[in-house]
């Protein structure tokens, strides 16, 4: 993410630069998390800003969440179709689609879409405010930018992602049931039985939902940190947004592995 880099630097310098910039980003995100938590504990943030962000992030993201979830459900069934046909295991289609969707694909794809829609947008907004010196204006008016801008966005993103994941789980399973009926001729009732026959429990649902909260924290921290650290006019905003989506995506996958492993 460091500017220039690559072409002129030797491999070792590039490697060192990579680690330094990674450390700087992770440190910045950690520091920001600390400052956010102190405000959260004291309930010291702007409530109307929170409502506005919840509307802008949550409600306005609904269309892409719906489209993504329906298609994802369909894709899950198409991918499982050859296996179902090979073994004639129609009763297990619900289990297969349900386990894949609830534990992995639902939270993961929703997080990626929200990271693109909300996280990138958030960085762009904060970056623009930095570049046009609106943040400095806030400071000059003795308004803490963390209270006023960052904490509402943080809560907004985490809440949005959690609720979107709940929506996406339901819609993806609906999409999967219909795709199963359309492509394989598996009755929705059979699909539902496969889903609830005991192989899947509430634990699997919570597994996905816990992940969605973790992903939300990563997206929120990355987007706020890169937004606030923007420099260098319009191209700088573009670079910040680019860095946000890349770091969010990498963070999502790395944490996905760690969380899957930690909570089994």
């Amino acid at each position: 993410m460091s500017p220039s880099s690559s072409s002129t630097l030797t491999p070792f310098a590039a490697l060192g630069g990579f680690f330094l910039s990674t450390a700087e980003n992770v440190g910045g995100m950690g520091g920001m998390l600390g400052r956010i938590v102190t405000r959260l504990v004291r309930l010291n943030f702007d409530a109307s800003e929170l409502l506005r962000n919840l509307y802008k992030m949550g409600v306005k993201s609904l269309p892409i969440v719906v489209v993504t979830a329906l298609f994802t459900g369909g894709i899950m069934v198409i991918q499982a179709a050859p296996i179902v046909q090979r073994y004639g295991a129609q009763g297990l289609l619900g289990w297969g689609a349900g386990f894949g969707t609830l534990r992995e694909i639902g939270p993961l794809l929703t997080a990626l879409m929200i990271s693109g829609r909300v996280g990138a947008n958030n960085t762009a907004e904060l970056g623009t405010m930095v570049v046009t010196e609106q943040i400095d204006a806030l400071r000059a008016l003795a308004i803490d930018p963390i209270n006023f801008l960052i904490v509402p966005r943080f809560i907004g993103i985490v809440t949005t992602l959690f609720l979107s994941t709940v929506f996406a789980d339901v819609l993806a399973l609906g999409g999967a049931a219909y795709a199963g009926y359309g492509i394989l001729g598996v009755e929705p009732a059979v699909f539902y039985n496969g889903l609830t026959s005991g192989l899947l429990g509430l634990g699997d649902v919570f597994h996905g939902l816990i992940k969605s909260v973790v992903f939300g924290v990563v997206i929120a921290l990355a987007s706020c940190q890169f937004g606030i650290a923007t420099s260098g006019g319009a191209p700088g905003v573009g670079r910040a947004v680019n860095a946000t989506v890349v770091v969010s995506a990498a963070g999502i996958f790395v944490l996905d592995y760690l969380v899957s492993f930690a909570i089994g």
Binding site: G74, I75, G116, N121, T132, V237, A249, A250
Partner: protein, 281 residues
Amino acid sequence: MTTEQHASSSVGNIDEDAYVKAPTGLAALGAGALEFVVAGRMLYSVFVKTLYYTVRGVRRPGAIAQQMYEIGNRSMVFLFVVMGFIGMILVYQAGIQTKRVVPDLSLLGATFLELLVRDLAASIGALMLATRVGAGIAAEIGSMVVTEQVDALRMCAADPVDYLLKPRFIASIVMTTVLITLAAGVAFGTGMWTGYAFFDINPRTFVNMSMVDAGDLTVGLTKCIAYGAAIPVVSGYCGLTTFGGSEGVGWATTRAVVNSSLSVIILNFFISGAGFLVFGG
């Protein structure tokens, strides 16, 4: 209503500025549909122009090579890290789930390889490239639009689609295919390690190509090419339609990421469906 006005006044959100007279109810639906149709037609014309210039345009191999480096080499580490983790996650989750039903995990590797070749490598890899490459293309072209460099190109009688988008289009198709093929190898390797470490599956058992057939390969490669073509066209379109300063660049980048990710998911649905109908089980 008040919240939206507040939004546009305090932050100057472009999306809402464009519709200050916020249409309600049926009008909002109609406005959305109209916008969708117009965007679709413009996207289509950008795509056709790109194809035309790919055949007839000015040949500049240097620009293509540079874009290949930007899109390919510089995404490699990111893509390999992500796909490596994906391989571990998928084998871990699949192993746990399969053990609930059948104790025999000897076919896990074969099934994993089939899924990887047919879908997961291409689709998840392309989603990652859509964020990395799509955001990069939109930010770069968007900045050029905002700083009037694209207008300067037009003044010099160089079509921005030919000059900017075509090299990225060709480079993206080639490099997406290459990157995804390599990334699939990485994912399979980490998956094999996970199978060995957590489920005691011998790597010799895990590496089992019996389930991969010509149909799987065809579908997988079709996806690579389709995604490789879709990402630069969608994000280039988003970049070229940028307006309104640094904020506009941010918005263009956001739209590029969202739209190219959506196009990957939707293309995946249709190509997978077609592949299933053509090649069967």
